[in-house]
């Protein structure tokens, strides 16, 4: 009976160890990516990375898209999505016709991820109990 108990205990410990190893393998990758983005963002803020002086949302010359798409390499699809609406659509634009040069609606949760309290971007949004 004691032997059976010992075998069971060792099995549980082995499983728990394997699970821990698994999470440790994923976590550093995510942390590394966030740290990398934070480092680039800091360099942009310090002026070490040139993003131009055109404060506009023009997707070729404006800082907004140069910072987010060119330097931080955020994929267009992360913010803009097709003609389908997700839960977080821009309320007032829901019933408006699609602007010619805009490849979709803006998904707000992407902004909140970095620009919320404690995020790596400039702090624009407040703390939220729900977030």
């Amino acid at each position: 009976m004691k032997l059976l108990g010992l075998i069971l205990l060792s099995c549980m410990l082995t499983t728990a160890f394997a699970e821990q190893q698994g999470t440790q393998q994923i976590r550093p990758e995510k942390e590394l990516k966030t740290m990398n983005l934070a480092r680039i963002a800091e360099q942009i803020r310090n002026g070490k990375i040139d993003v131009g002086k055109d404060y506009s949302t023009n997707f070729k010359t404006g800082r907004f898209h140069i910072i987010h798409a060119d330097k931080l390499l955020i994929d267009c699809n992360n913010c803009h999505f097709g003609k389908d609406y997700k839960d977080d659509y821009q309320i007032m634009s829901k019933h408006k016709p699609m602007p010619d040069k805009m490849p979709g609606r803006l998904q707000r949760s992407v902004c909140l991820g970095c620009h919320g309290e404690g995020g790596i971007g400039t702090h624009l949004y407040g703390r939220s109990a729900k977030w």
Binding site: M92, H95, L106, L112, Y125, A129
Partner: protein
């Protein structure tokens, strides 16, 4: 302290769009850059279906991200006054459009159209007033950000007359959209007065702010079926 808030009861709203027409007449916005817009969606499944209506305008957030980003890029065109009203200085606005993507409610409208007459044949009495003689918030320009001002030009009159307690009670001191609602789905007043109509209504009907996850603390409350969402 005075904190002006609006309550919109989506259970009462029937989608008549009187508030939108009133805003258009009062503020003369261009149709492509609306200051107030009706949103409608269907709820339920056949045969138990209903349409829910609600109007969306500026939420006049307590922590407005549009102002934060505007200050961040040293333009300082957006400000929030002591009554909680967020306004835009058209002379300072560069039309960069940064405020539009950061607003969780999609409110800022970058106006690219010149103001048009309501009727091509004749001017309305308001249109006949030269631009320079209008309220600064009505001196429209091209390529600047525009949005709802809580009819600040009317609220300002109450403050100048020393009657801020009558805001939301006297028609001339109340935003036009809140005056015209035929089903009393809109209320406007000071939430800091515990006995005010808006305070009581928010408490009684459990009105909630939309998109709380953005943490901007909007000053417009909605009564929606099932409470908060």
């Amino acid at each position: 302290m005075t904190k002006l808030v609006r309550v919109i009861d989506m259970e009462r709203c029937m989608g008549c769009r009187s508030c939108i027409a009133a805003c258009h007449m009062e503020n003369h916005y261009t149709p492509g850059s609306p200051w107030n817009e009706m949103v409608e969606y269907e709820n339920g499944s056949y045969p138990d279906v209903r349409t829910i209506f609600g109007t969306m305008a500026c939420m006049h957030c307590e922590d407005p991200p549009c102002q934060k980003i505007c200050d961040e890029i040293d333009v300082h065109a957006i400000s929030k006054n002591e009554y909680g009203v967020v306004t835009v200085d058209y002379d300072k606005c560069t039309g960069c459009g940064y405020c539009a993507p950061v607003c969780p409610y999609g409110v800022p409208q970058i106006n690219k159209e010149p103001p048009q007459a309501l009727y091509p044949e004749q001017q309305t009495p308001y249109e006949a007033i030269p631009s320079a003689q209008r309220h600064p918030l009505h001196q429209k320009k091209n390529n600047v950000m525009e949005k709802c001002t809580f009819c600040w030009h009317k609220l300002e009159k109450a403050i100048t007359a020393g009657e801020p307690e009558l805001i939301g009670k006297k028609p001339e001191y109340t935003p036009s959209c809140d005056l015209v609602c035929p089903v009393n789905a809109r209320l406007f007043g000071d939430i800091d007065q515990p006995d005010s109509e808006v305070s009581a209504y928010i408490g009684k009907k459990k009105a909630a702010q939309l998109k709380k996850q953005a943490g901007t603390n909007p000053q417009v409350y909605y009564v929606v079926r099932g409470g908060d969402f």
